[in-house]
C-alpha cells in the first residue's frame, strides 16, 4: 500500500469543530498581537523571559541566534490613502512609523524593537526587520536625518576615508540636484566577521539635510547570527532614502499620527 494512502486512511476520520476553532484561534491571536506590541517596548532580557513562559513559536524563516527573545512580528503601521501634504513637527515615533512604512513599501516582512530619538539637531531611528523571504535572524534597519555638514563639503565623492574603510562606493547626481551615495561595509570591527552593512545616503544641499539609511544582515543587539545578506538591498535603501518628505524638522502628519501608536524601546 502506498504510504500516502496509508497516512490518508489513518486520519480520514479526523475532523474539527471548525467554527469553534476559528473563534478560539482569533482570540488567541489577538492576545498574541497585544503582547507583542508590549514586547516591542521592553528590553531583550524581559522579552526573553516572557517568551519562555508564553512558549511563543518561532516565526517561519527565523534561524538561530540570541535574538529569538526579541519579538519581530509586528506589521508596519497602517497609513492608508495618499499623503495629504500636511506636515507636523518631527517626532522619533513619527520617524519610526515613516521608516517602517517605507520599508514595508519595498519589502515584505515584520518589524520589532523600534528605538529612536529626535532633537532640534537630528533624528535617528533603528528597528529590526525580518524579511519574509530567506532565512536567518532579523536585521537592523537604521535612519539618521542630520545636518549636511556632517558629510563634509561638496562635492560628495567616494574619496578619502570612504575609500579606505568601505567598499563598492558609488556616487551619482539625482535629477533634482541631490547627490546619492551608496556603499557597503563588511566584517565590521564592532559586529565581527560575517557582518554586512549596506548604506544609501542622499545629500540635499538646498535643505541642508543628509538622509542616511542602512541595513544590516544581523541584529547588533544580539550575540550572533547572520543572514546571508542584509535585510534590504541597496536599491531598496535608495528608494527609502530618496523619499522627498524626509526632513529634520517636519514629517507628513500621517506618519506623526501613526507613530503615536508605536512603543519605542528605551535603552
Amino acid at each position: 500500500m502506498m504510504l500516502h494512502d496509508s497516512l490518508d486512511h489513518a486520519v480520514a476520520d479526523v475532523s474539527a469543530d471548525l467554527p469553534a476553532l476559528a473563534v478560539a484561534s482569533r482570540n488567541q491571536g489577538l492576545s498574541i498581537r497585544r503582547r507583542r506590541r508590549a514586547l516591542a517596548a521592553v528590553g531583550s532580557v524581559a522579552a526573553a523571559t516572557v517568551l519562555a513562559i508564553g512558549a511563543y513559536a518561532l516565526a517561519p524563516g527565523v534561524g538561530g541566534g540570541a535574538d529569538r527573545g526579541i519579538a519581530t512580528d509586528l506589521a508596519a503601521p497602517v497609513v492608508s490613502g495618499r499623503l495629504s501634504g500636511a506636515t507636523a513637527p518631527i517626532t522619533a515615533r513619527g520617524v519610526a512609523a515613516a521608516l517602517a512604512v517605507s520599508v514595508d513599501g519595498v519589502a515584505d516582512g515584520t518589524f520589532g524593537r523600534f528605538q529612536g530619538d529626535a532633537s532640534v539637531r537630528d533624528a535617528s531611528v533603528a528597528l529590526l526587520f525580518e524579511p519574509e523571504a530567506g532565512s536567518g535572524p532579523a536585521g537592523q534597519v537604521f535612519i539618521n536625518l542630520q545636518p549636511i555638514v556632517m558629510a563634509g563639503r561638496a562635492p560628495y565623492t567616494c574619496d578619502g576615508y570612504l575609500e579606505d574603510y568601505l567598499t563598492d562606493c558609488k556616487v551619482r547626481r539625482l535629477p533634482n540636484g541631490d547627490t546619492l551615495r551608496t556603499y557597503r561595509e563588511d566584517d565590521d570591527t564592532e559586529f565581527g566577521a560575517g557582518s554586512q552593512r549596506v548604506v544609501a545616503e542622499v545629500l540635499r544641499p538646498e535643505q541642508r539635510l543628509r538622509v542616511l539609511v542602512f541595513a544590516m544582515n544581523t541584529n547588533p543587539w544580539a550575540d550572533g547570527g547572520f543572514r546571508e545578506r542584509p535585510v534590504l538591498t541597496t536599491e531598496q535603501l535608495t528608494t527609502i532614502a530618496t523619499r522627498p518628505w524626509w526632513s529634520r524638522k517636519q514629517l507628513p502628519v500621517e506618519y506623526v499620527e501613526a507613530g503615536e501608536h508605536l512603543d519605542l524601546y528605551e535603552g
Binding site: 500500500m1 502506498m2 504510504l3 500516502h4 496509508s6 497516512l7 490518508d8 486512511h9 489513518a10 486520519v11 480520514a12 476520520d13 479526523v14 475532523s15 474539527a16 469543530d17 471548525l18 467554527p19 476553532l21 476559528a22 478560539a24 484561534s25 482569533r26 488567541q28 491571536g29 489577538l30 492576545s31 498574541i32 498581537r33 507583542r36 512558549a55 513559536a57 518561532l58 516565526a59 517561519p60 512580528d73 506589521a75 515584505d108 515584520t110 519574509e132 532565512s135
Partner: protein, 173 residues
Amino acid sequence: MTDLLDEPVTAVRRPESFEEFVVATGDRMLRTAVLLTGNRQLAEDLVQSAYAQAFARWRLVSRADNPAAYTRAILTRLFLADRRRKRVRELPLLARADTPASSGDPSLRLSLIDALATLAPTDRAVLVLRYFHDLPVAEVADQTGLSESACRTRASRALARLRTHFPDLADEA
C-alpha cells in the same frame, strides 16, 4: 469542500476572511497535526496555536501565495520547537461519535499513527510533509530547517523503520 491546503492560491481564491480560511483548511490541518503528534488533544492545541499565529500576522498571511502552506509551515515549526512534547503512544480519538468510519483496515489506521509516534519528531515531520502532503524535498527541507540531503536521509531511515511494522508500505519517491 475544496482542499486548499496543498494548492497554490490564486488571487480569485484568496480567503475573504480568517474564519473562511479556517473553515476551508481546518480539517486537513488537524489531520496533519494528529499525524505529527499522535495525540488528538495535542493536535488540537497545536492547530489552534498555529492558526493563532497566522491570525496575529493575518495581513501577511492573507497576502501570501499560499496562505494554507504558510500556516502549515507555522504548525510544523511549532511542533518542532515544542520542548514540552513527550513521546505519545495513546491512540487518537475520532472528532465526533457520529462520523462514519472511512474504508480500510481500522487496525492499520491506528497502528500507523502509533508507529509514527515512535519516530523522532523531525523524522515524523519529514515523512508527513513528504508523503501526506506530497511536498518536494526542497520545500520539506525549508520547513524543517534541514538540508535537502539530510531530508532524504531522514525520510529513507524513517521509511525503513516503518516498514519493520508494515513491510508492504511503498513510497512514491
